[in-house]
Amino acid sequence: MTRALHSVRTLPWRAFLRCIALLLERSFRAEWIREWQAELWHAERSLGSKGLSLFEVQAELARFTRGALCDAALIRWQVFRSHAFRLNADSERHATALASPAACLGWLLLGCLAFASVAVLVPGARQALLPARNRGAQATVRISRDGLAGSGSPTIRLDQYRQWQAQARNLFAAIAFYRAEQKRVHFAAHRSADLSLLIGTGSLSEVIPLALERGSLAAQATDTRAALVLSDAAWRRYFRRDPQIVGSEARIGEQRVRIAAIASLQPSSGQPGQTMPPPDAWLLETDAQIEQWPRSTHGFVVATVRPAVAASLPAERWHMTVPQPTGDEEFECVTVADHFLRTIVVFLFTAILALLALPATTSLRLGEYGSAYAGHHSGKRMRRWLFLGAKFSLALALIFFITLDLDCLLTRMHGGAAGLFSFPACLAAFRWILRDQRQRCPVCLRLLRNPARVGQPSRVFLAWNGTEMMCADGHGLLHVPELPTSWFSTQRWLSLDSSWNGLFHPTGLAPSVNP
């Protein structure tokens, strides 16, 4: 009975304690509730034994449980401070992770290796990293008039193609001619769509690697109709992956064509003019239909170089001279899977742009270190410059691999915006490299520590004010001016001689820990 009476009298306060307990972390909550409820029980019994009225007891209990709020707030604050200390300790640890030059270069190298590993796993990037001659037994080249390889426009006439087809059998295992057009294709069931087509010779499927997912081109040899090979993307977009479409007939203007297969483009194959997206379909016309094209029809030519010849070719780009009655004609042959070279060129271009833009964003001066190497081996100075060069090299390699990975991943998704990444990344990397170099001791190359404000900003014209940082090994002090002046324009190194060694901890200053 007594216990039940106690329970009823303390019910609202026990509920109040449970509400306050929600301020605490789960790990503290149970014990805290148990402690305060026990104290509440004894407080109620003690107050009840003093002959107080019910109202007075309740008022006292209210005052008592109000203290629980202060107690919970204190515990919460202590937990918060311990978390904040852990975060500060973590950031201190992270800052010291780059303190030594070996650690700094090690992290950069680790990043390079990590993203290079990703490049090996991404199919397009892996193929791009391989030398051109190792990309399969045959090399596929795109032939253009000399100087117009990157124009994206058709430069080869049909009669020139026919000439090569007849005369260059020793050079090319297969050669194909095609042109790119947008045409309206009428399908069965009154469906039609405007498709981007590559209309070319039947040998096009031999030269451009099409992975046939459905159907085949075996019947093309006997069929008088041209074979239409839909891309996987167009099949999904226009026909919702309807398998019945394969083998059916379509109409392009007055021309009847057979939908022979569904294909996807291998990521390693390229298209003339790198800005052209993959087509919606390939229309492979018969030889009789090709014969009816005007001789002056301009288009693109791709060919597969024979293996024996490919091994002796100089590089991804080479020139072909075709003797003509009216004079020799020069043509340029570019390996289709020239992804690597393209990526390299774009990356180097953006890196040079970033380098040119760097002076506009930050000062290039590393500071005055005239006295830094007095009493030290002359190799220390060289070591500092080598360290700077190593950081630049590793940073560029890291950004290159990231760009390559993004380029291959985004190109597959028809995004292609990876090139926009390399410029800001290079600029940010160069800024970080210079800033990191300025914050290191010129002798031991460790990060300087313990920045201390010196002087008063209000006395900038009468005295010096800025930041002083020290080398943990006692090699010297770095003075960084708050405001560059004519007599103190950049940071200046002050060497400390060996008489200062006794003040510095041999392994560096230990971080101060104040929980």
């Binding site: 216990r3 148990r34 402690e35 409820q37 026990a38 104290e39 029980w41 004894h42 407080a43 019994r45 003690s46 005052r63 008592f64 449980t65 109000r66 203290g67 629980a68 709020l69 202060c70 107690d71 204190l74 515990i75 202590q78």
Partner: protein, 105 residues
């Protein structure tokens, strides 16, 4: 060092109360006249600084007496040292606290 810790008058009073045998929080409240919002947080700080240590009563003992088990506090060696130093600083504390009530812990 804990012995050199400069305690406030309130903390020293609470420490004195615990050493005098008022081992429960409510008992410290009653003998010192301090509110719960002062006593319990202060005892947590004293425990954090290693001057006192908390223990839970045996559950069987509390159940036999038909009451919930309570947490009680005892001074550590460092707490004794600190209290001795604090009593020199606050000599009135010894006179403020009456003789300890005997409570079975």
């Amino acid at each position: 060092m804990p012995g050199d810790a400069r305690l406030s008058h309130t903390a020293a009073l609470i420490l004195r109360a615990i050493s005098a045998g008022y081992v429960y929080g409510f008992g410290v409240m009653e003998v010192t006249g301090l509110p719960s919002g002062t006593v319990y947080p202060a005892m947590r700080r004293l425990e954090r600084d290693g001057l006192i240590r908390s223990h839970w009563e045996q559950e069987a003992l509390a159940t036999a007496e038909q009451r919930p088990a309570r947490k009680y506090y005892k001074l550590t060696r460092a707490g004794n040292t600190t209290l001795t130093a604090s009593l020199k600083r606050y000599p009135l504390i010894e006179k403020m606290l009456p003789a300890p009530e005997v409570e079975h812990a």
